[in-house]
C-alpha cells in the first residue's frame, strides 16, 4: 500500500498561491466549495434570527426594518451565492471533466476568473450587507427598490450583477467542454445523466442570466439617476421589471434543481446497482424542463396586475413543465424496482430528495392553479413550497452528492454512522420547519411579516423548533466532513463499486485526471448483474 502514495491534484503543490492561481478544475471546485459553504452558513444564520423573531407574534427580537433586511439578505445569499452555484460550481466543476474523460474544462483560465468574479461579487454584497443591509426582498421589486428603499441597494445589486458573469462563464465553459471534449466513444447517449443535467443547466444559465444582468443594470441606472424606467410615477411600468426579473428567476429555479436531479440519478443507479430506468426519457425530460422552464415565468405575477389572459397562458404552460418532472420521479422509482439496494448515506439523501421534491413540486401545482394562487400567493404557502424544493430537494441532492463523491474528492471516507444520523435529523427538522408553513399559508399568514396575529403562533413555534433541529443537522456533516479530511479511512479509487469514468482514476485524481485518455465502449450505469456485485474493480 505504500506505493499508492502517488502524486494527486491535492499534493502536487502547496501554499496559497498554488490554490488561488490554480487553473485545475478540481482545485477551483474546492475553492468554490469553501466559499459557498461560507455563504450557506451566513444565509442560515439570517434564517435562524428570522425564525427566532417569529417565535412570538410581537416584534420583540428585532425591529421591522431589521427583519426586512434579514429575509432579504437570507434570500439573496441563499439563492445567488449558495444554491445557484452550489452543484454546478462545486460538483460540476470537479466532475464534468472527470466524467467525460477530459483533462480539464475547455477554458481553465475562465474557470478561475469565474471564481474570482464570484468572490468579488460576494465581497460587494457582503460588505453592503454588513454596512447597512438591504431591505428589498430578493426580488428587488420596483419602485420600492429604486425610489423608496434607503438601504444599500446599489452595491448589493452590483454584487449580483458581477456574480452573473461568473455564472455565465461557468455555463459557457461546461457547454463547450461537453460538446468538444468527450473521450473517444463517449457519445451523447452514453453520457451519465449528471452530465445531461449540467448541460441543460448551463444552457439555462447562458440564456437567462444576461437578462437579469441587464435588468439589474437598469435598476441601478434608475436608482442612481432618478429616472423612470420601471417607476410609474415617471412613466415607467413596474410590471416590465417583474417580467424581466422572472424571465431569469423562474428558469433559475431549474438551475437550482436540475443539477440535483442529475446527482440523484447517479445515486439511485449506483446504490440500486441497476441501469437507470428509461434513460432516454430521463435525458429528454431534463432538456424539456430546461426549455419549457422559460415559458412560465408569468406564474409569479398572477395578482400583479398582469393581464388576465397572459396569466391564463402562463398557468397552462406551468402545467406542461410539471410533466417532465413527473417523468423523472417515476423513472427513479422504476429504477429502484427490482434493484439490489444498499443503504448508504447518499441514497438516504436521494430518497429525501425524491420525497420532498415531490411534495414541493405538487404544491407548485397549487400555485400554478390561478384561483388558488390568488389566495396563497405572498403567503407562507409559497415559502413552504420553495423551501420544500430548494432545501428539501436541491440542498439534499447537493449533500447527497457531496457524500457520494467525497471519497473521490478527498480520498477519504466519511463516517457512515454519523452521516446516516445527520441525514435523519435533517429530514425530521426540515419537515417540522416547513410543513406547518403550508397550513399557515392557507390560513392566510402573509410572508415577509415580522409581526402576525396571535392565532398563527402555534404553527410558527413548531416551525422555529424545526429550524433549530435543521440548523444542528447542518452542523453535524460540516463537522465530520472536516474531521474525515485527516481521520477518515482511505477510500481507494472506487469505494462504491460504481460505474462512470470518474471512478476509474485514483482517489484523489491525479493532476490531469487520467493517466491516459479513457476509451468508452458502453453506455452509462452498466452495473454488473447482481450475482457479480462482489467483484471489485479498479484497485491496482
Amino acid at each position: 500500500m505504500k506505493m499508492e502514495q502517488n502524486v494527486d491534484y491535492l499534493n502536487v503543490a502547496y501554499g496559497p498561491r498554488s490554490w488561488l492561481l490554480s487553473t485545475d478544475h478540481k482545485r477551483i471546485a474546492i475553492l468554490y466549495m469553501i466559499s459557498i459553504t461560507f455563504f450557506f452558513f451566513v444565509g442560515g444564520f439570517f434564517a435562524l434570527l428570522m425564525r427566532l423573531e417569529l417565535l412570538t407574534p410581537q416584534g420583540d427580537l428585532v425591529a421591522a426594518h431589521t427583519y426586512n433586511e434579514l429575509f432579504s439578505m437570507h434570500g439573496i445569499t441563499m439563492i445567488f451565492f449558495f444554491l445557484i452555484p452550489s452543484i454546478p460550481a462545486v460538483l460540476g466543476n470537479f466532475l464534468v471533466p472527470l466524467m467525460i474523460g477530459a483533462r480539464d474544462l475547455a477554458f481553465p483560465k475562465l474557470n478561475l476568473l469565474s471564481w474570482y468574479l464570484y468572490i468579488i461579487g460576494g465581497i460587494f454584497t457582503l460588505t453592503a450587507m454588513i454596512t447597512g443591509g438591504v431591505d428589498t426582498g430578493w426580488t428587488f421589486y420596483t419602485p420600492l427598490s429604486t425610489a423608496y428603499s434607503t438601504t444599500n441597494v446599489i452595491p448589493v445589486v452590483t454584487g449580483i450583477f458581477i456574480l452573473g458573469f461568473s455564472s455565465i462563464l461557468t455555463g459557457v465553459n461546461f457547454i463547450i467542454t461537453i460538446h468538444k471534449m468527450r473521450a473517444p466513444g463517449l457519445t451523447w447517449f452514453r453520457l451519465p445523466l449528471f452530465i445531461w443535467a449540467q448541460y441543460a443547466t448551463s444552457i439555462i444559465i447562458v440564456l437567462a442570466t444576461p437578462v437579469i444582468a441587464i435588468t439589474l443594470l437598469l435598476l441601478i441606472v434608475e436608482r442612481v439617476f432618478g429616472v423612470g424606467i420601471f417607476n410609474p410615477a415617471l412613466g415607467g411600468d413596474p410590471l416590465l421589471f417583474q417580467h424581466l426579473f422572472w424571465f431569469y428567476s423562474h428558469p433559475a429555479v431549474y438551475i437550482m434543481v436540475l443539477p440535483s436531479m442529475g446527482v440523484v440519478s447517479e445515486l439511485i443507479t449506483c446504490f440500486a446497482r441497476k441501469r437507470i430506468f428509461g434513460y432516454y426519457f430521463m435525458a429528454a425530460a431534463i432538456m424539456a424542463i430546461a426549455a419549457l422552464g422559460f415559458l412560465v415565468w408569468g406564474h409569479h405575477m398572477f395578482v400583479s396586475g398582469q393581464s388576465v389572459y397572459a396569466s391564463m397562458v402562463f398557468s397552462a404552460l406551468s402545467y406542461f413543465v410539471a410533466v417532465p418532472s413527473a417523468i423523472k420521479v417515476f423513472n427513479w422509482l422504476a429504477t429502484l424496482y427490482k434493484g439490489s439496494i444498499s443503504f448508504h448515506t447518499p441514497l438516504l439523501y436521494a430518497f429525501g430528495f425524491i420525497g420532498l421534491f415531490t411534495i414541493g413540486g405538487l404544491t407548485g401545482l397549487f400555485l400554478a392553479a390561478l384561483a388558488v394562487d390568488v389566495h396563497v400567493t405572498d403567503t407562507y404557502f409559497v415559502v413552504a413550497h420553495f423551501h420544500y424544493i430548494m432545501v428539501g430537494g436541491a440542498v439534499m441532492g447537493y449533500l447527497g452528492g457531496i457524500h457520494y463523491w467525497w471519497p473521490k474528492i478527498t480520498g477519504r471516507l466519511y463516517p457512515e454512522g454519523w452521516a446516516k444520523f445527520s441525514a435523519l435529523v435533517l429530514f425530521v427538522g426540515f419537515n417540522l420547519t416547513f410543513f406547518p408553513q403550508f397550513i399557515l399559508g392557507y390560513l392566510g399568514m402573509p410572508r415577509r411579516y415580522h409581526v402576525y396575529p396571535p392565532e398563527f403562533q402555534v404553527l410558527n413555534v413548531l416551525s422555529t423548533a424545526g429550524a433549530t433541529i435543521l440548523g444542528i443537522g447542518y452542523l453535524i456533516p460540516f463537522t465530520y466532513l472536516i474531521w474525515s479530511l485527516r481521520r477518515g479511512k482511505h477510500a481507494g479509487p472506487n469505494p462504491w463499486n460504481a460505474t462512470g469514468l470518474e471512478w476509474t482514476t485514483s482517489s484523489p485524481p491525479p493532476q490531469h485526471n487520467f493517466d491516459k485518455t479513457p476509451i468508452v465502449t458502453e453506455g452509462p450505469y452498466a452495473y454488473p448483474p447482481f450475482e457479480k456485485t462482489e467483484v471489485v474493480h479498479g484497485g491496482s
Binding site: 460538446h179 440564456l207 437578462v211 410590471l239 416590465l240 417580467h243 424571465f247 422559460f294 415559458l295 415565468w297 408569468g298 398582469q306 393581464s307 388576465v308 389572459y309 397572459a310 397562458v313 402562463f314
Partner: protein, 92 residues
Amino acid sequence: MNNDPSIRLYFRIGIILMLLLALTISVAYIDLGPYNIVIALLIAAVKATLVGYFFMHIRTSPRLVWTFAIGGFFWLFILFALTFSDFLSRPI
C-alpha cells in the same frame, strides 16, 4: 490586391450593406404609417443576416453554430412574445 474569390465576395457584401443602409435611410423619409418601422427592421434583419452569414462565416460553420445563433434569437422571441402577450391584452 489579389483576386481571391472570397475577398471579392466580401467586398460585394460590403457594397450591398452600404446600399441597404442608403435604402433604409431613404425609406425613412417616406410616410408609410405603421410600415416604416416594419420595413426598417426588415432591412436591419437582412443586413444582420448578411453580416452573420458571410462575414461571420455561418455559411461554412458546423450545425452547432447555427443552432446557437438561431437559439439565441429564438429565446429572444420567447421573451418578446410572452411579455407582449401581457401588454397587448391589458387592461383586464
